[in-house]
Every structure is written in C-alpha cells, then in structure tokens.
C-alpha cells in the first residue's frame, strides 16, 4: 500500500497490495520506526502509521484513519457488525476466506453515529427509528434482553389462512445450526421445553391448564460469562474476532452505496464513508448485508444509480413487510385460586446450567384450528383486584366448587406476531443524513385483526383455567385505542428483505442470496418472511451460520 492509500495489486491478505509474510517481516522494523518517529509527525501522518500498524495486525481498524481513496479487496465484505455479521465472520474463521466487516460504529455508543439512524414515520404509532437499535460493534445485542427461544415448526409452514406465509425450508433445516447459535448467545445448557423436568419439581407446580390450545413452554436466557448481562456480541467476541487472521473489522466505517455492475447483476464495490470525511471502497468477491432490517432496506433502496428501484428490488419488495413484535403491557389479569405458582413464570431462574422462564404459548394445533398467529404470554407482577374482580373470582371459584381464599392476581404481558403486510414499509425520504444518504420513512400499520387473534388466544387460556378449576382471567384490552395505549415493542425488526422460493414474492432465495445478484446476500431477521413470536436473535444467528456454510462453498 502506498502512503496515499492506493492499494497495489497482490494476492494475499485483506489488502491486495500486502502479503501476510511481507507484513510479518516488516512489522518489527515498522514498530521501531514508529516508536522513534511517530511522535514528531503531523496528525494525518500519525493516523496513517496507526492505520498501517493496524492493518498488519489484521484486526480492528479505525476507518477514520483509512486514507481516502483506499480500495480493499477481500473475498467477502460483511456490512454490519451485529450478531449476524459477527456470526458469519466467526463461522468463516477456519477457512481461507478473507473477510472484512464494515461496522458503522465503534466499540461504544456515539450520539453522532446513532443519529444516522434517524428517519420519519407515518401511520400507526411506533418507536422513533433511532430508538430501538444501537449502531456500534455488537449492534442491538448491546441492549437486548437476552431472551432465547427457537421458532416453531408451524412458523415455517405455508398456511392457507395466512397470506405470504411459508419459508422456503422447514424448521429442521434451521435446527441443524440452532445449538451453535444458542451457544453463541451463551444460553447455557440447551433445555428449552425439556427444562420442565428440572424446573417444575425443584420449584413447585406449573399452572394447571385444562386440555386446550395454550400450554406452558420455556424461554432460556443469554448470560455473558462473568456477568449477569446478556451477551453483548461486540464486547464478548472482540478478542476472538481479533484472533482471526484473515478478518479485518473496520470500525466507524459506514457503507453508503452498493455499487453494481452495468448489467445490475453483481456487487462490484461498496462505498464506505466516515463521519470525519474519509471515503474508501471495498471491492469484494461477495457481500453480506447484515445491517439490520431497517438499514438493509435503506442501503438497498438508496443504491439506485444503476438499478433505479434499488438493489434487489426488481419486484418492489425491498423495505416492504416490515414487522416487529408488539408487546402489550397488562394485556390480561390472571387469578390463581390457590395462589400457588412456580416462580419460573414471574422471573427467570437458574436450573441445570440454564437460566429459564416459563411462558404460555398457543399450540400449533390451536393455531391451525383457530387461524391464530404466534404469541407468547408471560406472568408479570402481582396486582390487586378491584371490586368486580374480587366478585368474579369469588363467584367463579364458588360455582366451580373450589376455594379462593388464597387467590392471587397477576398482570400478564404479551408478545404477538403480526400479519405480513406489504404496506407496512419503508421508503426513501427526501431528507439526508450526515453522510448524504437518504433517510427512511416508515409507513406503519397495525391490523385490528392481529389484536383480535391474540385476544382469542388469551380467551382460550381463560377457558382452560376454568376447565382445570385453577383460576380465571380478565382480558384487559378490547378497543383499538386500548391496545395502542398499552403497546410496547420487542424492538425486533424483521421482514424488509423477505425470503421466498419465488422471486416475485421474495428479495432473497433460500440461501439468502438476493435475487438477480450473483454475489450478494442478506443476513439477519430482515429475511424473515413470517415472524413467529420467538425472540429473533438466536434464530437469525442459526440462519447466519447456515449462510456461512453456503459461503464456504461459494467462495472456495
């Protein structure tokens, strides 16, 4: 590499102009020179020296020190250093594939970088676009709750009653990667629904439910080693990423354009910019967009110099079908007549090498029979009943022939899947961000039918409580205004680059390859065609690991 940052032709390393062997030979000389001379150099020159040293180490590189005009030529460029991007890079560690990760942020929160997420929204209420994600290494794993659960088999099925449903493969395909994804999340012993055999005997009875459509099932939790936090992927895996010889992680490196060839069939280059004004390019053999469902849509739509509709957008699907999990608070009140309930419902508990919490989920049979979307219910805090509630509990218990003297009431929280909706979408806005990229506008929609479906599932839970003479529930939300007033969100962005076996219905195919693009892939929950109710992180990681396997073959 010249000091002006131009890269000479070459054959090895992430840098086409430098060989690993040559780098190692020169390293001690360089270090000695740096020690004696660097302090006297102007700042720009110091940056270049720092940059050269970093490139020699092949690890974390501050893109603000990369000279403008630099061209990187890795085998694979991964746009985004969140869980998906990190998982792909780590899965390729033992291969000869030279990988570059382009991460917009650094190692910690920075307000100016975070502001690049800003956009506008119209329609139904939703979070501001910069609120529910984090733009630094590790991405949104820096503020996630660590909830883990695999999606259900039915989530992958095409359902006649659910338009746009059906993944191009079934759950077993993802199951092959699930254990590895789970361990990346540091979820402990792989138990999930098998955990009941340890959890319930140790801590008391689970909620007795009569036969029906809702059952107790189990979440596990990420627990980063040496702390009680969920795994923050950037902090947790930084050292491991640094040890990967053929990986360079560029921090503060914002991908601003996907440059395609004249035929519009492959990614030729990725423009990278820093907030300090540096600009350089990456010319990879292949690229993975792992920037989250919102930024993935933005980059694909905004890269419209050759393909006016944007990259991968031949069928006007990019940015559509956006989804999140509404998580209404106090969606129902549960009364347990005898007041006895295993603590696993209200709080996560450690058992058998895992941290687990029980939830209430609709069964696949119920979902098929009732055309119900996926959902989950968690038992939250104890609540006091009003006079009507006390009367209802006493009258019901008495009429059922059971006592209610020890009855306890709990607030229930919920998480619900939404119906895929092509008009819940992102479009490019006229406003531009600090890097000159068009901002996004979210057109948010929430269907009353989705609330009604979840309500039916809750009613089924209430029915089963009566059958078992265990308790009863109150449905606290009925009107649209009540639902909207109680709404929180899972901060699970999904669906904007959906996967489908038919290019007219999907942005990516079963291998996550963008239709019409020979060397371009999308990783992360952007590709989810339907969303389930499970927290997406561990599932998108399984999908990312599967993509890495595919790339091993493609980039051999």
């Amino acid at each position: 590499m010249n000091l002006d940052g131009r890269v000479k032709p070459g054959h090895d390393g992430h840098w086409s102009g430098t060989t690993q062997v040559g780098m190692r030979r020169r390293r001690h000389i360089f270090d000695k020179t740096r020690r004696t001379a660097a302090a006297n150099l102007p700042e720009a020159c110091q940056n270049q020296l720092h940059f050269r040293k970093a490139s020699v180490l092949g690890a974390f590189i501050d893109a603000r020190n990369v000279p403008s005009g630099t061209v990187l030529q890795p085998d694979l460029a991964i746009v985004g250093g969140g869980p998906a991007g990190i998982a792909v890079a780590m899965a390729l560690a033992a291969t000869p594939i030279r990988v570059v990760i382009l991460e917009s942020g650094g190692m910690s929160f920075d307000a100016k970088t975070q502001a690049l997420y800003e956009g506008s929204k119209v329609g139904a209420p939703y979070l501001t676009l910069e609120a529910s994600r984090l733009r630094y290494l590790g991405g949104s794993s820096n503020h996630w709750g660590g909830w883990l659960r695999p999606m259900d088999e039915i989530d992958f099925e095409e359902r006649s009653w659910l338009a746009y449903s059906g993944w191009p493969f079934g759950k077993p395909e993802l199951d092959r990667y699930f254990a590895r994804a789970h361990y990346l999340c540091e979820g402990g012993t792989l138990l999930y629904d098998h955990g009941e055999k340890w959890a319930v005997p140790a801590y008391g009875p689970k909620l007795a439910l009569g036969e029906g459509g809702v059952a107790t099932r189990w979440f596990q939790f990420s627990k980063m080693k040496g702390s009680t936090l969920p795994t923050h992927f950037g902090e947790r895996y930084a050292d491991e990423l640094k040890r990967i010889g053929r990986l360079s992680v560029y921090l503060h490196a914002n991908a601003t354009r996907l440059g395609v060839d004249a035929a519009g069939t492959r990614i030729e280059e990725i423009d990278v910019a820093t907030l300090t004004g540096r600009k350089f390019k990456v010319k990879p053999r292949a690229a993975v967009l792992a920037a989250g469902a919102v930024e993935a849509a933005r980059l694909m739509l905004a890269s419209n110099d050759v393909i006016p509709a944007g990259v991968g957008n031949a069928h006007d699907l990019v940015g559509r079908f956006f989804a999140d999990h509404p998580t209404p608070r106090d969606v129902a009140t549960l009364v347990v007549f005898d007041g006895k309930l295993t603590p696993f419902y209200a709080e996560a508990q450690a058992v058998h090498g895992a941290v687990m919490r029980a939830g209430l989920f609709p069964s696949p049979e119920f979902r098929r029979r009732s055309a119900a979307m996926a959902s989950s219910v968690t038992i939250e805090n104890k609540v006091e009943l009003d006079d009507l509630g006390k009367a209802a509990a006493a009258a019901t218990a008495a009429a059922l022939g059971v006592g209610a003297g020890d009855a306890v009431a709990f607030s229930l929280g919920g998480g619900m899947e939404v119906t895929p909706d092509p008009d819940r979408r992102f479009t490019l806005d006229a406003d531009r961000d600090a890097l000159g990229m068009p901002k996004l506008r979210l057109h948010m929609r929430l269907a009353d039918a989705d609330f009604a479906q979840f309500r039916r599932t809750l009613k089924e839970l209430g029915r089963q409580l009566l059958v078992s003479r265990t308790g009863l529930i109150r449905l606290n939300l009925k009107t649209r205004d009540e639902w909207l007033d109680s709404l929180d969100w899972g901060n699970h962005h999904m669906g904007t680059a959906r996967m489908n076996a038919d290019p007219r219905l999907g942005v990516v195919d079963a291998n996550l390859q963008v239709y019409g693009m020979a060397n371009f892939y999308v990783a992360g929950s952007a590709v989810f065609p339907t969303y389930g109710a499970a927290n997406p992180t561990v599932n998108l990681l399984a999908l990312a690991l599967r993509l890495a396997d595919h790339l091993k073959g493609v980039l051999r």
Binding site: G389, A391, A395, A399, R463, K478
Partner: protein, 120 residues
Amino acid sequence: MKLTRREAVIGASIGAAAGVAGVGGRYFLRKRHAPSPYDDLLALLDDRDADAQIGETVLAEIEDFDPQATADDLRARLAHNTLSGLMAEDASEGRLVEAGGWILPETLGALCALAAKAAA
C-alpha cells in the same frame, strides 16, 4: 375447678341464650332481597349483591337478554346437573361470556345476569 349445680345451670342458660341470639341474629341481620321469579336459581349464588354487579357487566354485552327464557333454560339444565358440573361443561365446550373482561362460564354469567335483573 368444680362448679356448683347453681353455677352450671346459670352457665348453661347463658350459653343457650347466646346460641339462640346468634342464630336468630344471623337470620334477622341477613341481607333481604325483594322477591323475584328467579329466587330458586339465585339461591345458588353466595353473594347476590356482588354477583349482580357482575351481572350488570354481562348484560352490557347482551342486547336482547330474556330473563325468563334464561331462567327456564337454567332450571332445565340444573335438573340434570349440579352448578359446578354445568360450569365445567360450559368451560369444556367453550360456552363463555365476558363480564367486564372476565371470562366466565355461560351458566355463571346467566345467573349473575338474573341477579342483576332481580336487583333492578
């Protein structure tokens, strides 16, 4: 301690008087309701006033509630089953009503609605 015959007689008399007063007191102090055509059914409820409150919320969900037909239907069903049996049957078969959001077996909802009608 040894009681004299006189003390034993006095004690027994006081006890008997207190017992009669207690039973009678409960009888005289119990809540009174105006007679209704459904008293035989409402006798199944522990707390008619509280249950009437539930019934008001049930009636709010039903446009054309017919108390007489409901009472006749309940009597017919109760002729062959207990209240708790009917409750379980309702729940099993999904015959439920909403009372201010509370999900209740239809039989209980109907009894509460009759209590509300009787109290009106």
